[in-house]
Protein backbone atom coordinates (compact mmCIF):
# COMPACT_ATOMS: atom_id res chain seq x y z
CA UNK A 1 0.00 0.00 0.00
CA UNK A 2 2.61 2.52 1.08
CA UNK A 3 4.48 1.95 -2.15
CA UNK A 4 1.75 1.10 -4.62
CA UNK A 5 -0.63 4.03 -4.19
CA UNK A 6 1.90 6.79 -4.88
CA UNK A 7 3.24 4.83 -7.82
CA UNK A 8 -0.24 4.34 -9.22
CA UNK A 9 -0.88 8.08 -8.87
CA UNK A 10 2.38 8.86 -10.64
CA UNK A 11 1.59 6.63 -13.58
CA UNK A 12 -2.04 7.73 -13.82
CA UNK A 13 -1.50 11.49 -13.70
CA UNK A 14 1.78 11.48 -15.60
CA UNK A 15 0.35 9.75 -18.63
CA UNK A 16 -2.93 11.59 -18.36
CA UNK A 17 -1.20 14.97 -18.59
CA UNK A 18 0.93 13.72 -21.43
CA UNK A 19 -2.13 12.51 -23.34
CA UNK A 20 -4.17 15.68 -22.73
CA UNK A 21 -1.68 17.68 -24.76
CA UNK A 22 -2.78 15.88 -27.91
CA UNK A 23 -6.53 16.07 -27.31
CA UNK A 24 -8.12 19.37 -28.27
CA UNK A 25 -11.54 18.27 -26.95
CA UNK A 26 -13.06 20.72 -24.53
CA UNK A 27 -13.40 18.21 -21.73
CA UNK A 28 -9.73 17.35 -22.02
CA UNK A 29 -8.66 20.98 -21.92
CA UNK A 30 -10.85 21.58 -18.88
CA UNK A 31 -9.10 18.78 -17.03
CA UNK A 32 -5.79 20.24 -18.09
CA UNK A 33 -6.66 23.69 -16.79
CA UNK A 34 -8.08 22.33 -13.56
CA UNK A 35 -5.01 20.25 -12.84
CA UNK A 36 -2.93 23.41 -13.08
CA UNK A 37 -5.29 25.20 -10.70
CA UNK A 38 -4.97 22.31 -8.30
CA UNK A 39 -1.20 22.55 -8.15
CA UNK A 40 -1.43 26.19 -7.17
CA UNK A 41 -3.91 25.41 -4.40
CA UNK A 42 -1.80 22.56 -3.05
CA UNK A 43 1.13 24.97 -3.05
CA UNK A 44 -0.55 26.99 -0.32
CA UNK A 45 -0.75 24.00 1.99
CA UNK A 46 2.88 23.24 1.28
CA UNK A 47 3.67 26.84 2.11
CA UNK A 48 2.08 26.29 5.50
CA UNK A 49 4.58 23.49 6.03
CA UNK A 50 7.36 25.81 4.94
CA UNK A 51 6.35 28.60 7.29
CA UNK A 52 6.11 26.04 10.05
CA UNK A 53 9.68 24.99 9.29
CA UNK A 54 10.84 28.60 9.32
CA UNK A 55 9.17 29.26 12.66
CA UNK A 56 10.41 26.09 14.32
CA UNK A 57 14.01 26.59 13.16
CA UNK A 58 14.02 30.12 14.57
CA UNK A 59 12.20 29.28 17.79
CA UNK A 60 14.71 26.49 18.27
CA UNK A 61 17.58 28.95 17.85
CA UNK A 62 16.15 31.31 20.41
CA UNK A 63 15.23 28.57 22.85
CA UNK A 64 18.70 27.01 22.90
CA UNK A 65 20.47 30.36 22.48
CA UNK A 66 22.31 29.12 19.41
CA UNK A 67 24.75 31.35 17.57
CA UNK A 68 23.19 34.59 16.29
CA UNK A 69 19.94 33.83 18.09
CA UNK A 70 18.91 37.46 18.60
CA UNK A 71 18.54 37.81 14.85
CA UNK A 72 15.94 35.05 14.90
CA UNK A 73 13.80 37.43 16.89
CA UNK A 74 14.09 39.89 14.03
CA UNK A 75 12.94 37.23 11.56
CA UNK A 76 10.00 36.21 13.70
CA UNK A 77 9.09 39.83 14.30
CA UNK A 78 9.05 40.53 10.57
CA UNK A 79 7.09 37.38 9.86
CA UNK A 80 4.36 37.94 12.42
CA UNK A 81 4.10 41.67 11.80
CA UNK A 82 3.59 41.07 8.13
CA UNK A 83 1.08 38.28 8.72
CA UNK A 84 -0.92 40.52 11.04
CA UNK A 85 -0.85 43.38 8.52
CA UNK A 86 -1.95 40.97 5.84
CA UNK A 87 -5.08 39.96 7.73
CA UNK A 88 -8.40 41.12 6.41
CA UNK A 89 -11.48 41.57 8.51
CA UNK A 90 -13.87 44.15 9.79
CA UNK A 91 -15.15 45.66 6.55
CA UNK A 92 -14.06 48.68 4.58
CA UNK A 93 -13.11 51.01 7.42
CA UNK A 94 -11.05 48.48 9.34
CA UNK A 95 -7.27 48.74 9.62
CA UNK A 96 -7.01 45.21 8.28
CA UNK A 97 -7.49 45.25 4.53
CA UNK A 98 -5.35 42.25 3.56
CA UNK A 99 -3.00 43.04 0.73
CA UNK A 100 -4.53 46.47 0.39
CA UNK A 101 -3.81 47.54 3.93
CA UNK A 102 -1.55 50.51 4.48
CA UNK A 103 1.10 48.83 6.61
CA UNK A 104 1.24 45.76 4.42
CA UNK A 105 1.99 47.82 1.34
CA UNK A 106 4.43 50.04 3.14
CA UNK A 107 6.40 47.17 4.61
CA UNK A 108 6.65 45.88 1.09
CA UNK A 109 7.60 49.19 -0.50
CA UNK A 110 9.90 50.46 2.22
CA UNK A 111 11.63 47.37 3.52
CA UNK A 112 11.36 44.60 0.97
CA UNK A 113 12.05 46.65 -2.12
CA UNK A 114 15.18 48.49 -0.95
CA UNK A 115 16.80 45.29 0.33
CA UNK A 116 15.74 43.43 -2.74
CA UNK A 117 17.15 45.95 -5.19
CA UNK A 118 20.35 46.30 -3.21
CA UNK A 119 20.89 42.54 -3.07
CA UNK A 120 20.44 42.47 -6.80
CA UNK A 121 22.83 45.34 -7.36
CA UNK A 122 25.56 43.44 -5.48
CA UNK A 123 25.91 41.63 -8.78
CA UNK A 124 27.75 44.60 -10.25
CA UNK A 125 30.50 44.09 -7.68
CA UNK A 126 30.60 40.35 -8.03
CA UNK A 127 30.76 40.57 -11.79
CA UNK A 128 33.90 42.66 -11.41
CA UNK A 129 35.58 40.32 -8.96
CA UNK A 130 34.61 37.23 -10.94
CA UNK A 131 35.91 38.76 -14.15
CA UNK A 132 39.18 39.76 -12.52
CA UNK A 133 39.71 36.28 -11.15
CA UNK A 134 38.49 34.11 -14.01
CA UNK A 135 39.16 35.95 -17.25
CA UNK A 136 42.81 35.05 -17.56
CA UNK A 137 44.23 33.22 -20.53
CA UNK A 138 45.25 30.19 -18.48
CA UNK A 139 44.14 27.51 -20.94
CA UNK A 140 42.67 27.27 -24.41
CA UNK A 141 39.12 27.16 -23.03
CA UNK A 142 39.71 30.09 -20.68
CA UNK A 143 41.17 32.09 -23.55
CA UNK A 144 38.12 31.45 -25.71
CA UNK A 145 35.86 32.51 -22.86
CA UNK A 146 37.93 35.67 -22.44
CA UNK A 147 37.91 36.52 -26.14
CA UNK A 148 34.13 36.07 -26.35
CA UNK A 149 33.62 38.37 -23.40
CA UNK A 150 36.02 41.04 -24.62
CA UNK A 151 34.52 41.23 -28.11
CA UNK A 152 31.03 41.65 -26.74
CA UNK A 153 32.07 44.12 -24.06
CA UNK A 154 33.80 46.35 -26.58
CA UNK A 155 30.43 46.45 -28.31
CA UNK A 156 29.20 48.92 -25.73
CA UNK A 157 32.09 51.31 -26.08
CA UNK A 158 31.26 54.51 -27.83
CA UNK A 159 33.69 55.37 -30.67
CA UNK A 160 35.32 51.92 -31.02
CA UNK A 161 31.88 50.32 -31.11
CA UNK A 162 31.28 51.21 -34.75
CA UNK A 163 34.04 48.88 -35.87
CA UNK A 164 33.51 46.03 -33.43
CA UNK A 165 29.73 46.03 -33.35
CA UNK A 166 29.25 43.89 -36.49
CA UNK A 167 31.54 41.21 -35.08
CA UNK A 168 29.88 41.32 -31.66
CA UNK A 169 26.43 41.21 -33.21
CA UNK A 170 27.51 38.31 -35.34
CA UNK A 171 28.79 36.39 -32.31
CA UNK A 172 25.56 37.01 -30.46
CA UNK A 173 23.40 36.06 -33.40
CA UNK A 174 25.31 33.18 -34.91
CA UNK A 175 27.66 31.08 -32.75
CA UNK A 176 25.55 32.06 -29.76
CA UNK A 177 22.47 30.75 -31.52
CA UNK A 178 24.25 27.53 -32.43
CA UNK A 179 25.37 26.93 -28.86
CA UNK A 180 21.96 27.74 -27.42
CA UNK A 181 20.29 25.39 -29.84
CA UNK A 182 22.68 22.62 -28.97
CA UNK A 183 22.07 23.18 -25.26
CA UNK A 184 18.33 23.48 -25.75
CA UNK A 185 18.16 20.26 -27.70
CA UNK A 186 20.25 18.48 -25.09
CA UNK A 187 18.18 19.93 -22.27
CA UNK A 188 14.99 19.07 -24.15
CA UNK A 189 16.12 15.48 -24.37
CA UNK A 190 17.18 15.47 -20.74
CA UNK A 191 13.79 16.81 -19.71
CA UNK A 192 11.94 14.25 -21.77
CA UNK A 193 14.15 11.45 -20.48
CA UNK A 194 13.75 12.54 -16.85
CA UNK A 195 10.02 13.10 -17.33
CA UNK A 196 9.65 9.66 -18.85
CA UNK A 197 11.64 8.08 -16.04
CA UNK A 198 9.26 9.74 -13.60
CA UNK A 199 6.03 8.75 -15.28
CA UNK A 200 7.29 5.25 -15.99
CA UNK A 201 7.93 4.97 -12.26
CA UNK A 202 11.66 4.29 -12.68
CA UNK A 203 12.85 7.45 -11.00
CA UNK A 204 11.20 7.94 -7.64
CA UNK A 205 13.80 9.17 -5.23
CA UNK A 206 11.52 12.18 -4.65
CA UNK A 207 9.07 9.81 -3.01
CA UNK A 208 11.61 8.65 -0.49
CA UNK A 209 11.64 5.12 0.90
CA UNK A 210 9.03 2.81 2.48
Amino acid sequence: MKRQIPLALVILFGWLMLALYFIPLEGAQKINENLLDWTAIIGIFALALGIWSLISVNVDKIQYKKRDWPYSIVTLFGLFAMIVFGLKFGGADSMFQGQESYMFRHFFDDILIPIFSTMFSLLAFFIASAAYRAFRARSALATILLVGAIIVMIRFFPFIAEYTRPVADWIINVPNLAAKRAIWMGVGLGIVATGLKVILGIERSYLGRD
Partner: protein, 271 residues
Protein backbone atom coordinates in the same frame (compact mmCIF):
# COMPACT_ATOMS: atom_id res chain seq x y z
CA UNK B 1 28.29 48.50 28.60
CA UNK B 2 29.11 45.79 26.16
CA UNK B 3 29.11 46.06 22.38
CA UNK B 4 26.09 43.86 21.88
CA UNK B 5 23.88 46.43 23.52
CA UNK B 6 25.76 49.53 22.49
CA UNK B 7 25.66 48.97 18.75
CA UNK B 8 21.91 48.50 18.41
CA UNK B 9 21.19 51.50 20.65
CA UNK B 10 23.67 53.69 18.80
CA UNK B 11 22.17 52.57 15.46
CA UNK B 12 18.68 53.43 16.57
CA UNK B 13 19.80 56.88 17.69
CA UNK B 14 21.57 57.51 14.39
CA UNK B 15 18.52 56.29 12.53
CA UNK B 16 16.23 58.63 14.41
CA UNK B 17 18.69 61.43 13.80
CA UNK B 18 18.56 60.84 10.06
CA UNK B 19 14.78 60.68 10.10
CA UNK B 20 14.71 64.05 11.85
CA UNK B 21 17.15 65.50 9.31
CA UNK B 22 14.92 64.35 6.49
CA UNK B 23 11.77 65.68 8.13
CA UNK B 24 10.21 68.76 6.63
CA UNK B 25 8.84 70.58 9.68
CA UNK B 26 6.95 73.14 7.67
CA UNK B 27 4.93 70.55 5.81
CA UNK B 28 1.20 70.79 6.11
CA UNK B 29 0.50 67.15 6.80
CA UNK B 30 2.86 66.21 9.63
CA UNK B 31 1.98 62.50 9.81
CA UNK B 32 2.47 62.13 6.11
CA UNK B 33 5.80 63.96 6.29
CA UNK B 34 6.94 61.70 9.08
CA UNK B 35 6.07 58.61 7.10
CA UNK B 36 7.92 59.87 4.05
CA UNK B 37 11.00 60.63 6.10
CA UNK B 38 10.81 57.19 7.70
CA UNK B 39 10.42 55.49 4.34
CA UNK B 40 13.36 57.15 2.66
CA UNK B 41 15.61 56.80 5.68
CA UNK B 42 14.73 53.13 6.09
CA UNK B 43 15.45 52.58 2.41
CA UNK B 44 18.80 54.34 2.69
CA UNK B 45 19.84 52.50 5.85
CA UNK B 46 18.83 49.10 4.52
CA UNK B 47 20.72 49.77 1.29
CA UNK B 48 23.89 50.60 3.21
CA UNK B 49 23.40 47.59 5.50
CA UNK B 50 23.33 45.23 2.53
CA UNK B 51 26.31 46.95 0.88
CA UNK B 52 28.27 46.44 4.10
CA UNK B 53 28.28 42.74 3.27
CA UNK B 54 30.88 43.48 0.60
CA UNK B 55 33.35 44.34 3.32
CA UNK B 56 32.51 41.37 5.48
CA UNK B 57 29.65 39.61 7.20
CA UNK B 58 28.55 41.87 10.04
CA UNK B 59 25.76 42.65 12.46
CA UNK B 60 24.06 45.15 10.15
CA UNK B 61 23.94 42.73 7.27
CA UNK B 62 22.62 40.02 9.56
CA UNK B 63 19.89 42.32 10.76
CA UNK B 64 18.78 43.26 7.25
CA UNK B 65 18.99 39.66 6.11
CA UNK B 66 16.88 38.30 8.93
CA UNK B 67 14.32 41.05 8.64
CA UNK B 68 14.09 40.47 4.92
CA UNK B 69 13.57 36.72 5.33
CA UNK B 70 10.79 37.13 7.85
CA UNK B 71 8.90 39.83 6.01
CA UNK B 72 9.23 38.28 2.59
CA UNK B 73 8.11 34.86 3.80
CA UNK B 74 4.97 36.38 5.27
CA UNK B 75 4.44 38.56 2.22
CA UNK B 76 4.44 35.60 -0.12
CA UNK B 77 2.26 33.63 2.23
CA UNK B 78 -0.36 36.38 2.22
CA UNK B 79 -0.17 36.81 -1.55
CA UNK B 80 -0.44 33.07 -2.04
CA UNK B 81 -3.28 32.74 0.41
CA UNK B 82 -5.34 35.44 -1.25
CA UNK B 83 -4.64 34.66 -4.85
CA UNK B 84 -4.77 30.87 -4.69
CA UNK B 85 -6.90 29.85 -1.75
CA UNK B 86 -9.19 32.78 -1.15
CA UNK B 87 -9.78 33.74 -4.77
CA UNK B 88 -9.53 30.38 -6.48
CA UNK B 89 -10.49 27.50 -4.24
CA UNK B 90 -12.83 28.84 -1.61
CA UNK B 91 -15.21 30.70 -3.97
CA UNK B 92 -15.92 27.30 -5.53
CA UNK B 93 -16.41 25.45 -2.26
CA UNK B 94 -18.28 27.35 0.37
CA UNK B 95 -20.55 30.34 0.12
CA UNK B 96 -20.33 31.37 3.73
CA UNK B 97 -16.55 31.05 3.86
CA UNK B 98 -16.01 33.01 0.65
CA UNK B 99 -18.32 35.74 1.87
CA UNK B 100 -16.46 35.84 5.13
CA UNK B 101 -13.29 36.45 3.12
CA UNK B 102 -15.03 39.13 1.09
CA UNK B 103 -14.86 37.17 -2.14
CA UNK B 104 -17.79 36.68 -4.49
CA UNK B 105 -19.10 33.11 -4.49
CA UNK B 106 -18.52 31.61 -7.94
CA UNK B 107 -20.66 28.51 -7.74
CA UNK B 108 -19.97 25.17 -6.16
CA UNK B 109 -17.58 22.93 -8.09
CA UNK B 110 -16.95 19.61 -6.38
CA UNK B 111 -13.53 18.88 -7.82
CA UNK B 112 -11.97 21.80 -5.98
CA UNK B 113 -12.13 19.52 -2.97
CA UNK B 114 -9.45 17.36 -4.55
CA UNK B 115 -6.56 19.84 -4.21
CA UNK B 116 -7.80 20.83 -0.76
CA UNK B 117 -7.81 17.17 0.25
CA UNK B 118 -4.37 16.65 -1.25
CA UNK B 119 -3.18 19.74 0.60
CA UNK B 120 -4.56 18.51 3.90
CA UNK B 121 -2.93 15.14 3.28
CA UNK B 122 0.35 17.01 2.89
CA UNK B 123 -0.17 18.57 6.31
CA UNK B 124 -0.16 15.13 7.94
CA UNK B 125 3.61 15.53 7.92
CA UNK B 126 3.22 17.86 10.85
CA UNK B 127 1.66 15.14 12.99
CA UNK B 128 3.99 13.38 15.39
CA UNK B 129 5.83 10.47 13.85
CA UNK B 130 4.42 8.07 16.39
CA UNK B 131 1.04 8.38 14.67
CA UNK B 132 2.56 6.79 11.56
CA UNK B 133 0.30 8.64 9.19
CA UNK B 134 2.80 11.01 7.56
CA UNK B 135 3.48 8.58 4.74
CA UNK B 136 0.23 9.42 3.01
CA UNK B 137 1.66 12.87 2.27
CA UNK B 138 3.56 11.16 -0.50
CA UNK B 139 0.34 10.90 -2.47
CA UNK B 140 0.38 14.62 -2.94
CA UNK B 141 4.04 14.67 -3.89
CA UNK B 142 3.40 11.88 -6.40
CA UNK B 143 0.50 13.82 -7.89
CA UNK B 144 2.43 17.06 -8.29
CA UNK B 145 5.63 15.64 -9.65
CA UNK B 146 3.94 13.26 -12.05
CA UNK B 147 1.43 15.69 -13.48
CA UNK B 148 4.05 18.35 -14.05
CA UNK B 149 6.46 15.83 -15.53
CA UNK B 150 3.76 14.73 -17.97
CA UNK B 151 2.95 18.33 -18.81
CA UNK B 152 6.53 19.42 -19.37
CA UNK B 153 7.51 16.54 -21.60
CA UNK B 154 5.29 17.79 -24.39
CA UNK B 155 5.63 21.52 -23.78
CA UNK B 156 9.38 21.18 -23.98
CA UNK B 157 9.41 18.97 -26.98
CA UNK B 158 7.35 21.46 -28.89
CA UNK B 159 9.20 24.66 -28.12
CA UNK B 160 12.72 23.68 -27.18
CA UNK B 161 13.27 20.62 -29.16
CA UNK B 162 11.30 19.99 -32.31
CA UNK B 163 11.03 23.70 -33.08
CA UNK B 164 14.81 24.04 -32.78
CA UNK B 165 15.45 21.04 -35.00
CA UNK B 166 13.01 22.35 -37.58
CA UNK B 167 14.59 25.80 -37.67
CA UNK B 168 18.08 24.33 -37.95
CA UNK B 169 16.91 22.15 -40.82
CA UNK B 170 15.46 25.04 -42.74
CA UNK B 171 18.86 26.74 -43.13
CA UNK B 172 20.03 26.30 -46.70
CA UNK B 173 23.74 25.65 -47.17
CA UNK B 174 23.85 27.97 -50.16
CA UNK B 175 21.33 30.78 -49.58
CA UNK B 176 20.24 32.77 -52.67
CA UNK B 177 22.59 30.72 -54.79
CA UNK B 178 22.58 31.70 -58.45
CA UNK B 179 25.94 30.40 -59.49
CA UNK B 180 29.62 30.88 -58.77
CA UNK B 181 30.00 33.81 -61.10
CA UNK B 182 27.31 35.80 -59.32
CA UNK B 183 28.69 34.82 -55.96
CA UNK B 184 32.13 36.17 -56.79
CA UNK B 185 30.99 39.25 -58.64
CA UNK B 186 28.62 40.24 -55.83
CA UNK B 187 31.05 39.34 -53.07
CA UNK B 188 30.23 41.42 -50.01
CA UNK B 189 31.42 41.17 -46.44
CA UNK B 190 28.50 43.06 -44.94
CA UNK B 191 25.86 41.48 -42.73
CA UNK B 192 23.34 41.18 -45.53
CA UNK B 193 25.88 39.91 -48.02
CA UNK B 194 25.56 36.43 -49.43
CA UNK B 195 28.92 35.31 -48.10
CA UNK B 196 28.12 36.23 -44.50
CA UNK B 197 24.69 34.61 -44.74
CA UNK B 198 26.19 31.43 -46.08
CA UNK B 199 29.02 31.42 -43.58
CA UNK B 200 26.56 32.02 -40.73
CA UNK B 201 24.39 29.11 -41.77
CA UNK B 202 27.43 26.87 -41.88
CA UNK B 203 28.55 28.02 -38.45
CA UNK B 204 25.09 27.39 -36.98
CA UNK B 205 24.79 23.93 -38.50
CA UNK B 206 28.29 22.88 -37.52
CA UNK B 207 27.94 24.52 -34.12
CA UNK B 208 24.69 22.74 -33.32
CA UNK B 209 25.99 19.37 -34.43
CA UNK B 210 29.32 19.67 -32.63
CA UNK B 211 27.51 20.94 -29.54
CA UNK B 212 25.27 17.90 -29.57
CA UNK B 213 28.29 15.66 -30.01
CA UNK B 214 29.83 17.21 -26.90
CA UNK B 215 26.78 16.02 -24.96
CA UNK B 216 27.28 12.37 -25.93
CA UNK B 217 27.76 10.44 -22.71
CA UNK B 218 28.21 6.85 -23.74
CA UNK B 219 30.95 7.21 -26.31
CA UNK B 220 34.56 7.98 -25.62
CA UNK B 221 35.53 11.44 -26.81
CA UNK B 222 38.66 10.40 -28.70
CA UNK B 223 39.77 10.51 -32.31
CA UNK B 224 37.60 12.46 -34.76
CA UNK B 225 34.67 12.22 -32.33
CA UNK B 226 36.79 13.88 -29.66
CA UNK B 227 37.81 16.63 -32.08
CA UNK B 228 34.19 17.38 -32.99
CA UNK B 229 33.23 17.41 -29.31
CA UNK B 230 36.16 19.75 -28.63
CA UNK B 231 34.83 22.11 -31.28
CA UNK B 232 31.46 21.85 -29.56
CA UNK B 233 32.78 22.97 -26.19
CA UNK B 234 34.66 25.82 -27.87
CA UNK B 235 31.45 27.08 -29.39
CA UNK B 236 29.79 26.84 -25.96
CA UNK B 237 32.65 28.74 -24.32
CA UNK B 238 32.60 31.61 -26.83
CA UNK B 239 28.90 31.89 -26.14
CA UNK B 240 29.36 31.91 -22.40
CA UNK B 241 32.02 34.57 -22.64
CA UNK B 242 29.81 36.63 -24.88
CA UNK B 243 26.81 36.22 -22.60
CA UNK B 244 28.89 37.28 -19.62
CA UNK B 245 30.07 40.35 -21.46
CA UNK B 246 26.55 41.16 -22.54
CA UNK B 247 25.25 40.92 -18.98
CA UNK B 248 27.67 43.36 -17.41
CA UNK B 249 25.66 46.26 -18.75
CA UNK B 250 22.40 45.19 -17.09
CA UNK B 251 24.00 44.47 -13.75
CA UNK B 252 25.68 47.82 -13.55
CA UNK B 253 22.34 49.47 -14.31
CA UNK B 254 20.98 48.01 -11.08
CA UNK B 255 23.83 49.49 -9.14
CA UNK B 256 23.30 52.82 -10.87
CA UNK B 257 19.63 52.63 -9.90
CA UNK B 258 20.52 51.96 -6.29
CA UNK B 259 23.16 54.66 -6.07
CA UNK B 260 20.83 57.14 -7.73
CA UNK B 261 18.36 56.40 -4.97
CA UNK B 262 21.03 56.97 -2.34
CA UNK B 263 22.31 60.22 -3.83
CA UNK B 264 19.09 61.67 -5.17
CA UNK B 265 16.29 60.51 -2.89
CA UNK B 266 18.07 59.89 0.34
CA UNK B 267 21.07 62.20 0.54
CA UNK B 268 19.66 64.76 -1.88
CA UNK B 269 23.11 65.54 -3.29
CA UNK B 270 21.99 65.61 -6.92
CA UNK B 271 18.76 66.87 -8.41
Amino acid sequence: MNRKVLIPIASIIVFIGFVLLKLDWDGADRTHELWEALEVTAGGFLTLMIFSFLYKDNAFYKFAEHLYVGISAAYWMCVGFWSNLAQQAIPHLSQSLSEALGQPFLGYIWHYWIPVALGLILLTRLLPESMKIGWISKWTLAFIVASTAGLFITANLQANFIAQIASTMSLPLLPDWTGFGDFLSNFDLSYEGQFVKMFSNWVIIIGVISGLVYFFFSKEHTGWFGRVSRLGIWVLMVTFGAAFGYTVMGRVSLLVGRLTFLFRDWAGVIG
